[in-house]
Symmetry: C2
Subunit: 337 residues, 2 copies
């Protein structure tokens, strides 16, 4: 069986709302996060991106973990650019045309239909038996909340911040629904419209991949947390009844503001949680996860699931995470301009 | 030592001149050749490109050989889009902005400087010790002739056709020089101007990579025939005196219209010719090469050199070439539209 590890990357102006995301040290650097994440997964370090993404408190991007698993297991990453705000030196297939708007605008992703269909066609053409699909988009849990609400699904999402700013997210989604003239559940059965009004380009791409992959009888493993739950909801509302699995981290699973089992059950997702043993480990590369930061992203949960399936011991994964981290931060925090 | 296998892909309207190239069954399909080549190297088959590139007589693209070596040796391909005419579903780093013009126009590649600098910066950022650099661009030997002439270097180039249309190529280059108001050797010492007036986007990209790689003390292996000779000449005229190696196929080496040793010596290139043993083999995947078609492309010579270095027996390479070929042509000639 051949497996391909796909990472869909993009940007949404929703991330610029103050306090919404921890996927970057500050809003300007955050714009580079998904582009730098792809470079870290592909090359082990940023190539021309000016920053190694860290949260405001210094938690390193989950791309470090995904890269480490890739070094241990040798999986083939495939990066899709659904709408990056900044250029990346990682090789990508372009499936979109620029960042999504703030969901408080009337239209969030004008070209949703085009992104969805491009991703769907791409997935149908791939020679693999299984797609593992992850994402990197700052602000993505807020757009996920927007989409889940638009579809009328149980709407609770995780956060890259230790304290989930749920009230802020709800207010943003409410403002977006009002501006889009949409009631909660108003886009049920119409996933394209849900993303167009309340989503982001990455959700359009992931949903297209899931639909295309199931149409050509590939196995789908959604690699992530509540953003992938939103993508699964989009696929269900597109009429996909095939088996779908969700692989996430213990940090999402421990997030009581989500209770990941509930949406997984509601959407009939096979839930897999892979424990990387970070809690019994003490290193700056992993401690922030244990403290509840970042939690997921860049396919981290799916990567850990693949490592587990390949029989790679988690001690080896943790050691490689430290190696990747040390290479990235050998000269102190990286920030070029 | 880490090695990265880079393929620079692009298009030039020079390929549309009747009789100039065999890199496609007909001119319309030829436009898809570099895009499909990248998909074959990445995925083992075209994904959304409508064709498996073959010459007018059915010789399969050298991408088949490069893919086969990749399957045997596990090298990491990195594809750069220096200006493709048609979309590709292979992941690429974009370093250009569209195809080059027919060199009979006054300007061939308006954005040469930008492509060169983007490639140079990319190479400088890569974490590898060695770059192997190949190309895929139909019409590329004619633009190579244009560039070598503009630089004042010994100007003899190979061909994907069994009978090298040298008179036609010379006439095209003469017309291009006249329209560009340039004498032979008129761009000596000015590689950017040589490509801008008489080259193609791939040559701009390869030259930039070579300059950037040598600036950061990476080893450079040019993987190909006379197009890579032209790229080496550009690097020499940019003042690069570092050691450069050229790895090509016995089919280029046997091409008397080129005498590959001469330009290699003139440009101080370490020449490596790797015999894949196709001549003692009888299969539709390889026979056309023995008959003098295609000869090189998509990094074939460099891929064979890497296989040789890794100690992979050529019998295994040939068997894998047949496997890749059989997968591609299982349903007869592939042509979708």
């Amino acid at each position: 069986m051949t497996t391909r590890f796909v990472i869909v990357a993009g940007s949404t102006d929703t991330a610029r709302i103050d306090g919404i995301s921890a996927a970057g040290a500050d809003p300007d650097l955050m714009a580079h996060t998904p582009s730098a994440d792809l470079e870290i997964v592909e090359y082990g370090r940023p190539v021309n991106s000016p920053v190694v993404p860290v949260s405001p408190t210094g938690c390193p991007t989950p791309a470090v973990v995904t890269r480490a698993v890739g070094e241990c297991c040798g999986f083939e990453p495939l990066a899709l650019d659904a709408g990056l705000a900044e250029p990346t030196s990682a090789p990508t297939v372009e499936i979109g045309n620029g960042p999504g708007a703030d969901i408080r605008e009337s239209v969030a992703v004008e070209s949703t239909d085009e992104i969805f269909e491009t991703a769907r066609t791409l997935a149908r053409g791939l020679p693999d038996d299984e797609l593992v699909i992850g994402e990197t988009i700052p602000g993505g849990t807020t757009t996920a909340l927007g989409v889940l609400t638009a579809l009328g699904e149980s709407a609770r999402v995780s956060s890259s911040l230790p304290e989930n700013p749920t009230a802020l997210k709800s207010a943003v989604v409410e403002a977006g629904l009002a501006e889009s003239d949409l009631a909660p559940g108003g886009a049920a059965g119409d996933p394209i419209e849900a993303v167009r009004l309340m989503g982001d380009p990455v959700l359009a791409g992931v949903a297209g991949l899931v639909v295309g992959a199931t149409e050509s009888d590939m196995t789908v493993l959604l690699a992530g947390g509540t953003q992938l739950v939103a993508a699964a909801a989009l696929a269900r509302h597109a009429g996909i009844s095939d088996r779908l699995a969700l692989a996430t981290t213990p940090f999402v699973a421990a997030d009581e503001s989500v209770a990941i089992e509930d949406p997984s059950a509601a959407l009939a997702l096979d839930l897999a949680i892979t424990d990387s043993g970070f809690d019994a480990f003490d290193h700056p590369a992993t401690n922030a996860y244990v403290a509840g930061e970042a939690k997921e992203g860049v396919g981290m949960g799916g990567a850990l699931a693949l490592a587990d399936r390949a029989g790679v011991p988690m001690t080896e994964i943790r050691e490689t995470v430290v190696e990747v981290y040390d290479r990235l931060f050998a000269d102190g925090p990286v920030e070029r301009s």
